[in-house]
Amino acid sequence: MLKVKNLSKTIQKKSILKNLSFEIDHGSIGIFLGGSGAGKSTLLRILNNLDTADSGAFTLDGVTLNLASINSTHTIGMVFQHFNLFEHLTSEENITLPLIKCKGVSKGEAEMIAHGLLERYSLLDKAKINVSNLSGGQKQRLAIARTLALDPKIICLDEPTSALDPRLTNQVAKFITELSEENRIVLLTTHDMKLLEQLNGQLFLIEEGTIVESGQKSDCISNPSTYPKLASYFM
């Protein structure tokens, strides 16, 4: 279980996150909702050590997480809104390079892992193609594959459908569900109602840097009076 306790962050005297706390189990999808500037992306950036928290405690399965060195442990991975693939490399190299250079995997083994993931995400025929020649959907699948190659226990996806053709939402929902079925913790931010409809998970509504409501999606739908703000997303 991932536990985040009293996370606070101030940027230029503006409080972005205020004592934000939540817990989420392995195999669950945590969906962070809220308006623009609510602090959703900042939360994912802090968990991935792209920003630093002013205060807060982080534990995974009872063990304290040191976010300053979390990237080298490959405990957590991030799929960016605009994918951020390495544009000078091929699809295969985007997966093998981090494996070889950051995880110390041999070239042969890295290629084997890459082939497995490219096959899983229907990109095997694009293995030797430069990523700038891929479509948006293919880029996102590759971004997920690249993150997954390092086998993180937690995967964060920042607005996973915002840069994609809306017709691809079903496919993205399927990939996200598969990640959680592999017993990973999946954390994502979204404004996409169609994606929200297709995912089952724990919803967290962030307003002004703090979680104001949280609950399982099914509970929010069946008990709207208990979760008035979250339920409004499904009305």
């Binding site: 792209l50 991975g77 991030m78 605009h82 951020n84 544009e87 390079l97 981090p98 250079k101 993150t147």
Partner: protein, 217 residues
Amino acid sequence: MIDFTLIWDSLPSLMHGTSISVQITLIAMVIGLSFGSILGLAETSKSRSVRFIIGTYVTLFRGTPMLIQILFVYYVLPQFGVMIAPFWAASLAIGLNSCAYISQIIRSGVNAIPKGQLEAAHTLGFSSIQTMRYIIFPQAFRISLPSLGNEMITLVKDSSLASIIGVMELSKEASIIRSRTYDAFSVLLAVSLIYLVMTGILSFCIKKYEGKVRKHA
């Protein structure tokens, strides 16, 4: 009138000079590209002192004539006990000058790379040096290729400045033939053509390489 016999008879000397010019250009290229790339990448660091040192170096080498820099390396360094042969003094000075320009070309290339590339590398666990080596530099180099090509062509022409300290490169050989025969037109025409061929070949190779890189991208 063009004296073709004089040009034909002078060819061995001119070819020798060409070979020296090419050697100076290549050495200056190696110095410029290697140290210029390192300085360009280092200048994007957060350290103020690193940026200040590189900025001072660039200001000094871009703000003073290359001719003076060659004279400085050849005549002033020996006063501090550093003796350098004319050929090496010229190659070093031209290389160090080029280094200042190349560092700025690479720095601009690095600045043109989206921040997201750095962030992706960071989350995947690349160290700062690995990020520069495997992610940022290859992309910055590609972006900078046209400007780097121009700098390489400039180096070929700048190699003629080595003549000031007596290096027997192409223009110095031409100068000797001219003073011996008093036929400036024929000799300078021949030398100009040789420089044109050298820059033309280099320009062709750079364009080919750019095309290859673009095709791969």
